[in-house]
């Protein structure tokens, strides 16, 4: 009896060992090997990193690169994750990507001092330089695009496409010029108070 038991258990032990080896190999080696393959083959596109960093200046570039590499370079997936959770997983300390030298520190983008030079003012944008000094006009006494006087606000809609376009343009300009005049008056008033 004991003899027979031994002969039975040797092959079954071998079988078990083989099975265990395959299982261990499957669980512990397949996943890391594919993901590391992906990480190596898919370096994050610097343009994508910049794009996300501009959208979310609070997120570090290292986190962005780490997340992009893990999801196969999908900007959408990374954006979704930031929007959904407000942050990204911190990369392991060993992860030290090469951050492009041009990349600014994350807060610099939102510095109000930097905004100053970035935008052109409304007068320049809408080409209103010549109209700033013209006398104050209320919308009702302005002249229509065809030169006909007395086009009031109630007649803002025209069935003619070009006329509509011109009316819209005029309404925009009036809005900006009125704001500019008000501001000028306010500044004058303040200077008089000061002086």
């Amino acid at each position: 009896m004991p003899d027979q038991q031994q002969t039975l258990s040797v092959p079954s032990l071998l079988l078990l060992a083989a099975f265990a080896a395959i299982t261990i190999r499957y669980f512990f080696f397949t996943k890391p090997s594919t993901s590391s393959l992906r990480t190596n083959s898919r370096a994050a596109n610097p343009a994508d990193v910049e794009q996300i960093a501009t959208m979310f200046p609070q997120i570090g570039r290292r986190e962005i690169i780490w997340d992009l590499q893990r999801n196969g370079g999908s900007v959408n997936a990374t954006t979704e994750r930031i929007l959904g959770r407000g942050s990204l997983d911190p990369p392991p300390p060993s992860f030290q990507p090469i951050i492009p030298p041009g990349a600014t520190p994350s807060t610099a983008n939102t510095n109000p001092a930097q905004l100053k030079s970035k935008h052109i003012d409304l007068i320049t944008r809408y080409n209103l330089g010549s109209k700033i000094s013209s006398p104050l006009s209320t919308p009702s006494e302005g002249s229509g695009p065809s030169g006909s006087p007395g086009v009031s606000q109630t007649q803002a809609w025209s069935s003619n496409k070009n006329e509509r376009q011109a009316l819209l343009k005029r309404r925009r300009e009036e809005m900006i010029l009125n704001a500019r005049r008000k501001l000028e008056e306010m500044e004058r008033g303040r200077l008089q108070q000061d002086g």
């Binding site: 510095n111 007068i123 944008r125 509509r164 306010m186």
Partner: protein
Amino acid sequence: MASTIASRRLFHEYKLLTSSPPDGITAGPVSEDDIFLWEALIQGPDGTPFEGGIFPAELKFPKDYPLNPPTMRFLGEVWHPNVYPSGLVCISILHAPGDDPHHYEKASERWSPIQSVEKILISVMSMLAEPNDESPANIEAAKMWRERRSEFEKTVRDGVKRSLGM
């Protein structure tokens, strides 16, 4: 097909906004050749540091409008907690009903076809007056608004002056 519905609806909204414009709002297509790209001017609400300012913004509509909302981006400088440094506006009415990235928005506040360009622009105007602290798009501006209110107001007022060329 979807895009004809969209352009008809946009044209209709353009007409409404032109014949009875809400206070302090001017909006319409940049060119009628492309009804899916609009430019709007929003006046800064009175009694706020944005008062007296005019803020140009661009609205881009999807081809399946009004099923999905447009995106809105300020073209000039807007220092505000809910406006990304790129100018992109982050407000619940511009979020499609399906996605709620911040998990705090009521369905009624989000985009649905019964909303309109006019409602978006009015919502953005009141957003200028009352920033939403829960979902800051500009972290620095949000921090300043929370912690150093007078500095925030001065930054905004200076921006308004600059934008009008003064």
